[in-house]
Symmetry: D2
Subunit: 115 residues, 4 copies
């Protein structure tokens, strides 16, 4: 499975259900934000240790994996609708971040603006 | 470039800057939600037609592509920290959705719960 | 009931349950974003007409009111922790918005940046 | 200034600019989520101590107050459009939470589901 496979599978999934009319950019961006909120809900009150411990259990891991999957699904679908190549975009963004935060300058500095 | 390549590249990016200590699940999930909000901001007031028209211009397309990239970057980094295989998780979720919304039942029905 | 009453009631509610230790700015801002996501979920697939129709029913109205209440509760609690006067802050922001978007200039102009 | 005053002021603000047509439930809920994301961005990488220290400075406090104001403004405007009384809704929700989490049971228990 690759991002391209996933794109095609989601395209077919929507077509088979006649759901393309709901998959507008606005609705898909809403769905992405809703899923990001659901993911965040899993981490709402715990410490990082508690979060990692829970994610290491079968049930806890499956629950979080499902939220990550939902985010990816809407992200891939939205990119498809908008004609954007996700991996290309990520590659360009990493290159821009590397210029903005050169490793040898960032290392050892106070990390106010860390990513 | 694949999701696996991206995972490794982001792992190296964080290590080179000594940023692993900031990349806790909670912080990364916050960043993902922040980026989902920034993406949504692009679509805040426009109609779907306006959104698609703007995304079809070089500048408009690049701006949205950058937000999608940010979401993907934090998503991939978070999945890595949690030891979750994103594409596997998406595949399982699509299978579950297919059982929950059988194409022949959904098609033609009122679309209350459409995805 | 006023915002000040609500502030005091939520302070007491947390104290009675020994929950102050969970009510850090980060956790409360997460909760606020989670609730904003849940609210958005109600409006995810519908048109504005469908959303207004549903909100006008007793059940639909109560469901949305509960999400709005959750957002307000976390907002008020967070403002209290940070020592911020919410109504003062809103008043200042409206004054700033009025300077930024003068009514006689905005009216009739294309509404690209409408708030 | 009360919530009712704020409601009327925002109603007038929108009317004076001919912005009512943009203030649909969907757009306002998007705006609320966008602002919740901007607020979260202020708390993205810091510890709770750092966040509280920064909020205690004039500039840091003003920046966070502005984000809280934006959330309140969209929340109040959305409640107005939907015909929901925010303070009533919050009052009902607190009563429901008090039944769900009785103080004497919660106190001293492990805080898995703390609010």
């Amino acid at each position: 499975m690759t991002i391209d496979d996933l794109t095609l599978e989601l395209r077919r999934f929507a077509a088979d259900r006649d759901w393309e009319r709901f998959h507008t950019p606005k609705n898909l961006a809403i769905s992405l934000a809703v899923e990001a909120g659901e993911l965040l809900e899993h981490f709402q009150w715990g410490t990082d240790e508690e979060i990692l411990d829970r994610a290491a259990t079968p049930d806890g891991g499956a629950a979080v994996a499902e939220e990550l999957a939902d985010v990816l699904i809407y992200l891939v679908r939205l990119a498809d609708i908008l004609g954007i190549d996700l991996l290309d975009a990520a590659s360009s963004k990493i290159a821009a971040n590397a210029r903005r935060y050169p490793a040898d300058e960032v290392r050892g500095s106070s990390a106010k603006r860390a990513r």
